[in-house]
């Protein structure tokens, strides 16, 4: 498909490549916000949104979006105006740009770069910057605290994330996410299990656990949602934002959640590979399996969100620096040994 488009005009190709992930993110965000409210509702013996749009309030997110567009855009008097306005867009741009290297299906990846993993991790680091920007520019002490917490948290948790991703890279021997996915095709393990990395090597299960805990922290989900912990910091770095700017934060956050879940699906669960070998395989089925795997991880994140209390900021750091990081490096070495031996 990509070759076909670039035949017509290079600019058209760029636009198409930009539009596909954007559509996916926007549709996903609308569904995920509604879905999270529904999941929260059912977990708490409630129903969640029920009124807008008929069946189980499916149009709730659309109605919310329309409301947010109409809202007055309030900027605090003493805020640093440019940074304040810029931060939400930068945050969204960061998580959006990272989608370029995600192989959505065997036939589509935005950019077939051979350092995909590296690019993705580098671009998502911009999130930290934008959160600090928002927290600082609001000229609100709660926002500042939220921004600072977030900076500390994300910088720390990037280390175990990278270490656990490296474990996979070590096994795969490639930084290109498409290649990594292709390596997981087939159903050879024990004769029926798919060739996914999570089944290939016991150390990769540990790597996945570390990775999952880290992405919970990276995307600010409970029990690590300290930057915006609503009962302590009111709303953290989002406190002063309203209307569309706040919606951008929300969108970026959900996009980030999807991005990291999809990364997890690519690295550990075979990406767009069908769990049944050649059955139900193909570009479109690939997209389906890929999104299913990613969304399952998102749903587990939501499930955790509505079960657990949150950690304190120093405990969060403790978990990262004294448990996850040593563990992930030990795991990396052990994986390397495993690879040498077998």
């Amino acid at each position: 498909m990509t070759e076909y488009v670039s035949h017509i005009h290079p600019v058209a190709a760029i636009l198409v490549h930009a539009a596909i992930p954007l559509t996916i993110i926007l549709v996903y965000a609308l569904v995920a916000i509604w879905g999270e409210r529904k999941i929260a509702g059912f977990i708490q013996d409630r129903l969640g949104p029920m009124r807008v749009g008929g069946w189980h309030g499916w149009a709730q997110s659309i109605a919310d979006l329309l409301k947010l567009i109409q809202k007055e855009d309030i900027i605090p008097t003493d805020a640093s105006r440019f940074l304040f306005k810029f931060a939400p867009f930068m945050m969204f741009a960061a998580s959006y740009a990272a989608f370029a290297v995600i192989p959505f299906s065997s036939a589509y990846v935005g950019s077939m770069v051979n350092i995909g993993v590296f690019y993705l991790l580098a671009v998502t680091s911009l999130l930290t910057l934008s959160i600090i920007m928002a927290g600082w520019a609001s000229n609100n002490k709660w926002s500042l605290l939220g921004g600072m917490r977030s900076a500390a948290q994300m910088v720390s948790y990037e280390v175990p994330t990278i270490a656990s991703v490296l474990t996979v890279v070590l096994v795969a021997g490639s930084l290109n996410l498409m290649t990594v996915t292709e390596m997981q095709s087939g159903n050879d393990i024990l004769g029926f299990l798919p060739n996914w990395f999570i089944f290939q090597n016991p150390f990769l299960i540990v790597a996945f656990i570390i990775f999952f805990i880290s992405i919970l922290a990276e995307s600010h989900r409970v029990p690590f949602d300290l930057p915006e912990s609503e009962s302590e910091l009111v709303a953290g770095y989002q406190t002063e934002y309203s209307g569309m700017r706040w919606a951008m934060f929300m969108l970026a956050e959900y996009a980030d959640m999807l991005l990291l879940s999809l990364l997890g699906a690519t690295l550990f669960f075979g990406g767009w590979n069908s769990p049944f070998g050649d059955f139900m395989a193909g570009p479109l089925w690939g997209f389906f399996w890929f999104m299913l795997k990613g969304l399952s991880l998102v749903i587990v994140m939501m499930w955790i969100r509505w079960t657990l209390p949150r950690y304190r900021v120093d405990q969060l750091m403790h978990i990262c620096w004294s448990i996850l990081i040593p563990l992930s490096f030990v795991n990396l070495v052990l994986t390397a040994l495993w690879e040498v031996i077998f």
């Binding site: 977990i43 302590e232 910091l233 657990l308 209390p309 949150r310 304190r312």
Partner: protein
């Protein structure tokens, strides 16, 4: 922003206002926190945002009975217990005999209210620490209690149900079966709560060793109720200074054990409340067994209340601790002075003593664990 910070304190400390509008101050409380990073070096609680002149109103009413609906509004989470203390004070002043049936109904209602109040306190505590679902599960149970209350009193929150030496209306015929049914369905929910929240490791990490209140400090600050018991003092007015007919019942006083941390920390205070709910269930069961079926609950209510000259200090055990009414009468039909000694007021005053050196997140846990109701603090 740095200029702002240094202007306020002259050095690198930051003063931050937690409240009056803040999600975890449980109402309109303002805490002035002096921060060094996220570490609190000083706390100054500022109260009075919900001051509704209860004491002045009480003096200006032309009837002692008209004060009862106002007592409801002090601690709006446990209105029945507030009324209970006030009517007991008046009964002692007038030297009235209360019919047995009335006493039994009062005890059942008061213990149900204690459970309802603890449910809210525990739920809100969990909410402060980020656990959303337990709050709603507990609220479901609280609703069941309120349903029973609504059938009995006609109201869900502010009941005005107790009258001097009587009740405003009799209970309905199914009251006993309704309550027994609730007791039966509620027991398993406590276990569920323990699974979901009490013994959750993250929850324990957030509450153990936090906000430790040693026994000596607790007594010097006149702490009472679950806060005092959390520090390991076996002190419950229902046992130690029995009022109403509490001496007839067999129940235990749960105290803090320091099971997961230090004695007197947030977790102990929380756990005392959980265990207290079980004890309340026991009292309710015994009271349901002993409650007489016949008897007029309105018979003994005096037509006019005019105590002789004198003063009295009556204290009762509310879910939050010792509620004292200091009433002076001057032979007229309205009280000369009513002072309500509210447990939350006292507990809030010791906040600076127990929260120094903790983090903002701990502050939230501490405020949640002492379970204040601002309506009672400000009156």
């Amino acid at each position: 922003m740095l200029e702002v910070i240094s202007k306020e304190t002259g050095n690198k400390e930051m003063v931050i206002n937690m409240g009056p509008q803040h999600p975890s101050t449980h109402g309109v409380l303002r805490l002035e926190l002096v921060l060094d990073g996220e570490i609190i070096t000083k706390v100054r609680p500022n109260i009075g945002y919900l001051h509704r002149c209860f004491e002045k109103y009480a003096e200006q009413m032309d009837d002692y009975a008209k004060v009862i609906p106002y007592t409801d509004r002090m601690d709006y989470v446990s209105a029945i217990n507030q009324e209970h203390g006030y009517v007991i004070a008046l009964e002692r002043m007038l030297e009235l005999e209360v019919p047995e049936r009335v006493e039994y109904i009062r005890v059942i209602m008061a213990e149900m209210q204690r459970i309802a109040s603890h449910l809210l306190g525990i739920g809100a505590f969990g909410l402060d620490l980020g656990a959303f679902s337990p709050f709603l599960y507990l609220f479901t149970e609280r609703e069941k209690i309120l349903d029973i209350f609504e059938r009995v009193t006609g109201a869900r929150l502010l009941y005005n149900y107790f009258a001097v030496a009587g009740l405003m209306r009799d209970v309905h015929p199914e009251f006993k079966t309704d309550t027994a049914e609730f007791v039966k369905t509620f027991r398993p929910k406590i276990k569920e709560l323990n699974d979901l929240l009490s013994y959750n490791k993250i929850f324990i990490k957030r509450t153990a060793n936090i906000g430790v209140l040693p026994e000596k400090v607790a007594l010097n600050y006149a702490a009472s109720g679950p806060v005092l018991r959390g520090s390991g003092v076996e002190w419950d007015l229902r046992k130690n200074d029995p009022y109403s007919i509490y001496d007839k019942f067999d129940f235990e006083i749960p105290v803090g054990t320091g099971e997961v941390g230090t004695l007197g920390d947030c977790w102990d205070r929380y756990m005392v409340r959980v265990k207290e709910m079980e004890q309340s269930l026991r009292i309710i069961e015994q009271a349901l067994d002993g409650m007489p079926d016949e008897g007029d609950v309105m018979e003994a209510i005096p037509k006019r209340i005019r105590p002789k000259e004198g003063e009295i200090y009556v204290r009762t055990e509310t879910p939050r601790g010792e509620l004292g009414y200091y009433i002076i009468s001057d032979k007229s039909a309205s009280p000369f002075r009513v002072k309500a000694r509210a447990p939350s007021f006292v507990h809030l005053s010791m906040l600076p003593a127990i929260s120094k050196g903790s983090l903002i997140a701990d502050m939230v846990a501490i405020v949640g664990s002492i379970d204040i109701v601002l309506g009672e603090v400000d009156r």
